[in-house]
């Protein structure tokens, strides 16, 4: 049984994000994620008006009558949401936690995909595989995905992106569009991403919180690492401490951005508390522009 509270939440997310998908992002998703290539459908008799370039000469020679090949745009996409559910996602200082933000973003993407008659699947992970929902079509399925996003209690606390991508490669043999939603608090994921990229269209969605990047000035704070459980007392009133922290975080972020840019990986950065619709729309537009080249 699904608790009533959860149903309400799912409903709320559904209303908000499906509207986003159908109104504000309508069309743009379609353009950004066009089919990759075209697919052969059938061979039929040449009819006047057909493009002579599409005549299949082998069949024509064998049959003695001109035939042409009919191609169809490969439209039916599969969208995989690879979602980081590690403990660090429970962090959030700006109206919502990162996990809440992720849920909304994923729901929006899922509804956008469904509107385009695409399949949507979910792979939730922490330092282990938390949940795998195979890609399927239909609004019911999207609601299932949203429910898992909302209600799944992660077993692991840490983050292991490489393991998740490894699992993903094994379960998803066909080419698909994968959204890797994480805060990338992990090492050694670069190689895994490169491997996945060979076959799939991978989009990295980097989720963060403003106060992760810069510490607020609130005096002494006992801080516990959500993933490792380590306790550190920091004097956030000290300018040096804050500067060192910001520098460290910025350096890590810069490393990530630089690496993804070098390897031409689509990257979308989202912060808690800010509207993600504009960011997604801008991202779609960028992608669309690149696809046309």
């Amino acid at each position: 049984m699904i608790p009533i509270e959860l149903l309400k939440k799912i409903r709320r997310i559904e209303i908000a994000t499906s509207r986003l998908a159908s109104e504000q992002l309508a069309g743009q998703y379609h353009s950004a994620f066009k089919g990759h290539g075209i697919e052969f459908e059938e061979v039929r008799l040449y009819q006047p008006g057909d493009d002579v370039r599409s005549i299949d000469w082998n069949v024509t020679a064998r049959a003695g009558e001109p035939h042409i090949k009919i191609f169809r745009e490969e439209r039916e996409l599969t969208v995989m949401l690879i979602v980081d559910m590690s403990a660090s996602q429970g962090f959030g200082t700006n109206e919502q936690t990162k996990r809440e933000l992720i849920t909304e973003v994923c729901a929006t993407l899922a509804f956008s995909a469904i509107r385009n008659n695409d399949k949507v699947g979910l792979l939730a992970f922490s330092d282990q595989i938390e949940k795998f929902v195979p890609p399927r079509k239909g609004t019911q399925h999207v609601l299932r995905v949203i429910r898992e996003l909302l209600a799944h209690q992660p077993v692991g606390r840490g983050t292991d992106i490489a393991a998740a991508l490894e699992f993903f490669r094994h379960v998803q043999k066909r080419r698909c569009t994968a959204f890797l939603v994480s805060d990338f608090q992990d090492d050694g994921w670069e190689q895994a991403i490169r491997v996945v990229r060979r076959k799939h269209d991978l989009v990295a969605i980097d989720v963060n919180d403003p106060h992760e990047m810069e510490l607020p000035d609130i005096g002494l704070v006992d801080m516990r690492d959500a993933e490792t459980g380590a306790l550190v007392t920091l004097d956030t009133s000290s300018r040096h401490v804050r500067a060192a922290w910001a520098a460290e975080m910025a350096a890590a972020s810069d490393r990530r951005i630089g690496w993804m840019r070098r390897h031409k990986i689509d990257r979308l950065e989202l912060g808690t508390g800010a509207s993600f619709v504009e960011a997604i729309r801008a991202f779609f537009r960028r992608r669309e522009a690149r696809m046309e080249h």
Binding site: F91, V232, V241
Partner: protein
Amino acid sequence: MLMAPPDMLWWLLVLVPLIPLIWWRTMNRRRRLAVPWSTLTPAEGTRRGLTARTRWILPSLRTLAIIMLAICLVGPIKGDQYTSKAVEGVAIELVIDRSGSMRAMDMEIGGRQFERLDVVKSVAADFVLGEAALPGREHDLIGLITFGTFADSICPMTLDYRTLTEALEQVTPASGEEGANTSIGDAVALATSRLADLEDRHDLDTDDIRSKVIVLLTDGEDTSSEIHPLEAAEIAEALGVRIYTIGVGRNGIVPIAVEDRRGRTHVEHRRSHLDETVLREMANMTGGAFFRAQDTQSLSRIYAAIDELERAEISEEQFYRFTDLAVAGVTLGTWKIPALLILPLILLLIETVLATTRYRTIP
């Protein structure tokens, strides 16, 4: 000497376990409430801030406070050893005759003739302050009354012997009407009344007075008293006052320096009569003694005898005065140590102030 009452030591058992508790609470990093943060990787190996690194000050302060509190509860006491000379003093009223006849020069010191009063004065001073033969008085109240025709209290009962001897120094033989008569009875009565009034004096610790003594020095017989000497002796006896009477000088014709109207001094020979029977009777009635002093030596001996008789009883007693260090401050040399109890309170105050300001920690 520092010590602790043994029955209070169990307080240590109550408070001392609090100390590991405090440290356990601060050191226990796993169960401490903390703000969950997505990552603490940036804090690794880098600065945590001076305040964060010196946070052990707070538990240290609290530990110190608890230790001190425990010490206070145990009740440290500082025992000061006192060798109490639980002295029972003697109240002595010197009653000195200064009538004209005291000018008689029949006392000898080193072959020279001196006035009776001068000799009496110097020996009395020796009696009070101490001199070769006389040990001096130490814990006795001594007062001074002089008399001629009238009795006057020159110096009240006091332990301040310097003032007393100064007053004694200024006693001169009376002349004229004042020196014409000798009021032994009045003087003794006045002395008795002074001694009897001692209990009412608040500036003196009169509980320690063992006995009350009048030392009467005279060279004559009572001539003008309103109260007869024997009557005065009776009063004294009733009030528990002993009278030592000293008769000074020779009986018979004695040389007296007389100043005539023009201010010249010449020696006259006059009759001097000492009423020995009355003086002896007075002494006997009150349990004192009568002495006869004809020269300095004998006077000195007499004082020595009185001194012997009325020596203050010194019972040496050792005792400790304990000061509870927890509540009472102690002066140690030039350092004034405040009450021990204040220290933990100050420490706790500092701890609280620091914990709520500089070291305020979230959560």
